[in-house]
Every structure is written in C-alpha cells, then in structure tokens.
C-alpha cells in the first residue's frame, strides 16, 4: 500500500483536491439558496408543504441516475464537473431548506415578541435574533448534508468525475485493493475534518452555548 502511495502520490493528491471542491461548491451554493427558501417556507406554510413534497421526490432519485441524466438535461459534456455539482446541490438543498425552515420554526415565539417589544424591526429581528438562535439546528442539517455529500462525490467516478472515487474505479479495474483502501480512508477523514470545521464554526456563532454549560 505504501508503494502505491509513493508511486501515485500525484494521482491521489489530484483526486483528493477534486473531491474537496466537488463537495464544497454544492454546499456553498445550497447555503445561499436555502436561506431565503427556508425563510419563505416559514412565512408561508403552504410553501413548506410544497417544498417538502418537491424536495422529498428529488431526494429519492438515486444519485447515479441523476449523474447520468443531467448531462443531456443541462446540455453539458458527461465529464463536466457541473453534472456532479448540480446533482449534489439538489440533494444538499433538499436537506438544507428543510433544516433552515425547521430551525427558524424552532425559535421560541416569546423571544420574537421580546425582540419586537424592545424595538427590533422585522428585518433586523430576522438577522440578529432569529438567525443566530436557529444556527444550531441549521448547522446540524448542514453537517448531515456535508458528510453525505463527501460520500456521494465518489459515485461520480462511474461517469468519470468523482474525486477519490477515481481510486475506487481504478482499484476495481486492476482488482487491487490498496487504492480503494486509501480512497476510503481519505474520504472518511475528509468527512471527519469537515464535520469538525462545522462544529468549530458553530461554536464561534453561538458563544452563549459555551457560557450556559
């Protein structure tokens, strides 16, 4: 296994780097879209039902099916990373919109009333009261989405763009375990590192949680 690492250092590194950005870009796009959608879902409860049904259906489409269908739907090359990014954005969005909506709903009504009573306008109340209080639940959803994204990226290797998944297809074609083992270890490590980063961000964003404990 160590000889494989020595001889294929650059391949592994390239796969790892591709894996990282294939996982991160959909998360960032989803955060930007999920916040307003989640907000709307809370304001208009009919929308909450619509989003739940819509994203529930999108979410149950297997990733491999989406990966192979998207190229022609989007009109891009099958090897284009855009396929993977769009597919993973759909899954991440499905999780995040719901997390954001549930998080905003979980904010105690009396807190909102108190904020209004001390003179917060609606917009300021949202940004400075509701959003911070909703952070833990939102980030819990983000953690789930991130970890499953990292696992899903590798499926993209079947259509030729899958970060560490390349090590899986390579190992399978050669009937040789070391690249696969390296890929699995790196993928799990990535998931753990991303998870820790989100937890650290959560600590920064919710200083009161530390005081309370």
């Amino acid at each position: 296994m160590f000889t494989y690492i020595q001889n294929n250092y650059q391949t592994i590194l390239d796969a790892l780097i591709q894996h990282i950005w294939l996982a991160i870009v959909p998360i960032l796009i989803s955060i930007v879209i999920a916040l307003p959608l989640g907000y709307l879902a809370v304001r208009y409860s009919a929308l909450y039902q619509v989003f739940n049904a819509l994203f529930g259906i999108l979410y149950s489409i297997p990733s491999l099916a989406l990966f192979v269908l998207l190229p022609s739907l989007l009109g891009v090359q099958i090897l284009s990373p855009i396929n993977i990014i769009v597919a993973l954005t759909i899954y991440t969005l499905a999780l995040l919109v719901r997390s954001v909506a549930d998080a905003l709903r979980s904010v105690d009504e009396t807190v909102l009333q108190a904020a209004t009573a001390v003179g917060y306008t609606r917009g300021r109340r949202f940004l400075e009261v509701e959003l911070p209080i909703a952070v833990p639940v939102m980030l819990a959803g983000l953690r789930v989405a991130t970890v499953s994204n990292i696992s899903l990226v590798s499926v993209g290797a079947i259509i030729g763009t899958g970060g560490l998944g390349f090590l899986f297809t390579r190992g399978f074609q050669l009937f040789y375990a070391p690249p696969i083992i390296i890929g699995i270890i790196l993928s799990v490590l990535l998931a753990v590192i991303f998870d820790v980063i989100i937890v650290l961000i959560q600590r920064q964003l919710t200083p009161w949680a530390r005081v309370a404990r």
Binding site: G141, S151, F172
Partner: protein, 265 residues
C-alpha cells in the same frame, strides 16, 4: 433538443420488447433483482440492528456505540466499500449484499435505539407495576411505543439501499443499475433514461409503501390517529427523541433523524 429528439430518449423504456418477463435482462427482471438485493440486505440488517438497538435502548448500555456507528456509517463511501469487497472476495452477489447491509444497519440501529430511549419512563414503570416481565415490557410496551421511529429508520434504510443497489451493476451485478451502466458504456442514451426513470419511480413507490406499512404497524394509540380529547400521540410517546441523539443529530418533522436522510449513495 427537438420534439422528436426528446421522445427518442424514451424509446428503450416504451419498447414492449424490454418488458417481457421471461427474457433475462428485461426491465421486470431487473426490477425483481433490484428488489431482491434490497430485501435481502434490509432483512439481514434488521436481524442484526433491531435486537441490538432494542438492547442498547432498553438497557442504555453502549449508547455511545450506537451513535458512533450511525455517524461512521454515514461517512463511509458505499461505492468504495463495494469495490473493496469485490477485490477482496471476488465478483458476485455477496460483496454487494454485504455493502448494502453495512449501509442499512446505521439508520435502523440508531432509530431503534432513539425510539426506545424516547419512551415515557412512566409507561415503563406502570408496565412493571402491573407485573410485566422485562421481556413483555420490552415487546409489549417499549417497542410499540418506539414503533414510529423504528419504522422511520427502516424506511430510510430501504430508500438508501434501493438507491445504492444501482451501483451493483458497476461490479457486474444485476438490478436496474444494469440499464444505467450498460447504456453508458454502449452510448445508448435511451437505455440510461429508462434506468433512471425506473429506479426513481421504484424509490418513490417504495417510499409510499413504507409510509403505508408504517401506518398499518404503528398502534393508533401511539400515532394519535384516534386521539381522544385532542391528546396527540406525540404527547403519549413523551419526551422529544431528538434530545437523546446527542449533538448534531436532529429529528425532522416526520420523526426521522436528519442524520439518516442521506438516501442517495
């Protein structure tokens, strides 16, 4: 794409020749294979995870283990696991089934555990006070009250497995993934479309069936469908189960831990 071009993509799906039951590799046969992988894997996972989860939830021993298995299972790339098992034990159904079992244990285990922990302690005390033996307390009180969460775990396991079983075709297995993989390799796009449509429909149908099964199995007293005086099942079940799953795992509105919503491996 023109109108004719769009329809062309459905050639494979709507060609009756691909729907003959007796032809190997026909769509109904692939669906059966796919369901076969799914049910065998989920049944094995149930045989392992239900008793284990019930034991952990009942005794509260090894809760740390249950939560960590659930988290680790999420991070493990199933595609990597399938290819690894194939290189280790060779081609065939076995590596695929093992990987799918590994995939479906975490949601079943975590939800069974969380479901049992969430049972109102007063109900358990009452059952003991009535003279029930521990086994009857477990099977007659705790499990029925935990059933909504247990079923949610099963449902998410089934959906994960249905989605992931498509990967079996990559390592020479059967199932609907065959249409996707073969279509890709020979450049027959309408075959890819057929596979994607069939597997998506199958996933959605199974989700609906699991929801119906959940309704049939969960006692009306627990689900609150026959609520008396506005008392909902949620009150009867008692504590919010999400408190028990620890940091980072929340329960979504339908009682499913968000942690196990990652269906699409």
């Amino acid at each position: 794409m023109g109108k004719g071009g769009t329809l062309m993509y459905f050639n494979y799906l709507f060609d009756g020749a691909h729907w003959h039951f007796d032809k190997p590799g026909s769509i109904p046969n692939l669906i059966l294979q796919h369901l076969g992988y799914t049910f065998v894997s989920v049944l094995i996972a149930m045989a392992i995870a239900l008793p284990l989860g019930a034991y952990i939830g009942h005794t509260n021993k090894g809760a740390f283990l249950a939560i960590n298995i659930a988290n680790a299972g999420r991070a493990l790339p199933t595609f990597g696991l399938v290819t690894l098992l194939v290189t280790l034990i060779g081609l065939g159904t076995l590596p695929v089934v093992i990987a799918l079992v590994v995939l479906s244990i975490p949601p079943i285990l975590a939800n069974t555990y969380a479901g049992l922990r969430a049972v109102e302690p007063g109900a358990v005390d009452a059952a003991r006070g009535m003279g029930m033996r521990p086994a009857r307390v477990l099977l007659g009180v705790e499990v029925p009250m935990a059933m909504p969460l247990i079923m949610a775990g099963l449902r998410s396991a089934v959906l994960q497995v249905v989605a992931t079983a498509t990967i079996a075709a990559y390592v020479g297995g059967g199932g609907i993934g065959r249409l996707l993989i073969d279509g890709l390799s020979i450049g027959d796009y309408s075959r890819v479309v057929a596979g994607a449509v069939v597997v998506a429909v199958l996933a959605i149908v199974l989700e609906v069936l699991m929801t119906l099964l959940e309704r049939a199995i969960v006692s009306p007293g627990v689900s609150g469908r026959f609520s008396v005086g506005g008392r909902k099942g949620a009150d009867a079940v008692g504590r919010d189960p999400s408190d028990l799953l620890g940091e980072g795992i929340t329960l979504t509105a339908d009682g499913l831990p968000a942690a196990h919503h990652d269906v699409n491996n």
